[in-house]
């Protein structure tokens, strides 16, 4: 290929949607050169956003900010290795693909951080009996029994904003962390559980408390949200 043709090819590649770039990346064995170009373009589009996302994740989960670049590195490694799993947007527009990619990368980064938090290399992680139990021995009916009278689960924008407001204004920093961890761990845990036992133990250690105290903290936090939303609704 002449230099002019290659330059023209690259310039066309710059206009491609993320879906096409991931396609090139997934076909590395056929055309490694094109895969490298595609990776560089994806990198240019998303590197700053993903770095910021990783910084936010570390901040939200109280992990030292210095780990954000490690998290971003592993995220990019996984994106590169799993290019064939990219799930394209139904919307063919350029921006829709950008948003889809960022959502996917955020999910990968979040999952990776959860994995690290579960990792036995974590400082002060407890071992032994508690970890043998597999999963936390509480279930969602604890929340429901507590809140059934206080909180009617309608998923309206107004209610969502009230829940977010209650979270910000009513909960302590510790309660916020426990609820956020519960929500995120739930996405990556076996069906019907909120948090693997090891994750709960590890979170308890990070907060210098016990898993039993964590559970109380979680219920207390949810109760505060339920009461806040209920009061505002009545008003």
């Amino acid at each position: 290929m002449s230099v002019e043709n290659e330059a023209e090819g690259l310039s066309q590649l710059l206009q491609e949607t993320d879906e096409m770039l991931f396609l090139h990346l997934a076909c590395r064995s056929i055309d490694p050169g094109m895969a490298d170009h595609a990776l560089r373009i994806l990198w240019g589009r998303h590197k700053t956003y993903i770095r910021k996302s990783c910084q936010r994740l570390c901040w939200q989960f109280k992990v030292e900010i210095a780990r954000a670049d490690d998290l971003a590195s592993v995220t990019w490694m996984k994106v590169n290795d799993r290019a064939d799993q990219y799930d394209a947007s139904d919307d063919p527009s350029f921006n829709a693909h950008v948003n889809r990619t960022r959502a996917w990368m955020n999910k990968i980064a979040e999952h990776q951080l959860i994995d690290w938090l579960r990792n036995p290399n974590l400082a002060n992680r407890a071992y032994g009996k508690e970890l043998d139990r597999g999963v936390e021995d509480y279930s969602s009916d604890e929340f429901a029994k507590l809140c059934a009278k206080e909180f009617q689960a309608e998923n309206s924008s107004y209610r969502l904003s009230l829940v977010a407001q209650a979270f910000d204004e009513e909960l302590s920093e510790k309660e916020q962390l426990v609820l956020m961890a519960t929500v995120v761990h739930r996405n990556y845990s076996p069906a019907g559980t909120y948090m693997e036992r090891g994750s709960a133990t590890s979170l308890a250690n990070r907060l210098n408390t016990t898993t039993a105290a964590l559970r109380q903290c979680r219920l207390r936090a949810w109760k505060k949200i339920a009461v806040f939303v209920n009061d505002r609704d009545r008003a």
Partner: protein
Amino acid sequence: MKKIQTDRAHVDLGERLLIILEEALRRSGRLLPVTARQVSSEQSKKSQLDANTDDQPDWYDDPFAVIERGRHLFGHPPVLVPYATASSTAKNALALAARNGKPISQEIRRIMDVDRRKSENA
């Protein structure tokens, strides 16, 4: 392990409550957006999503170096320092990240000073 008897209706409601909580936290930016719609909505709300690149390490300019580094870290996970034992430097860095790298405004600092004095005198 003791099997807990659960009422299906309660379990379903509990699940819905957690889904609502997650949606609320993702929409408000307390958790990262993980759907294209959430990313789009966040970007329309916040104009300053770019990371502070002043502290960006040199190796972060090269995607191939970053991926290699990621491959190494994947096999050798880092030791995460618990929040409670993080140094004050790390806490300051976290606070800086929370402010998107911006300095504390005079007005906020004044309020902080007043609060600090109140708590010292309490």
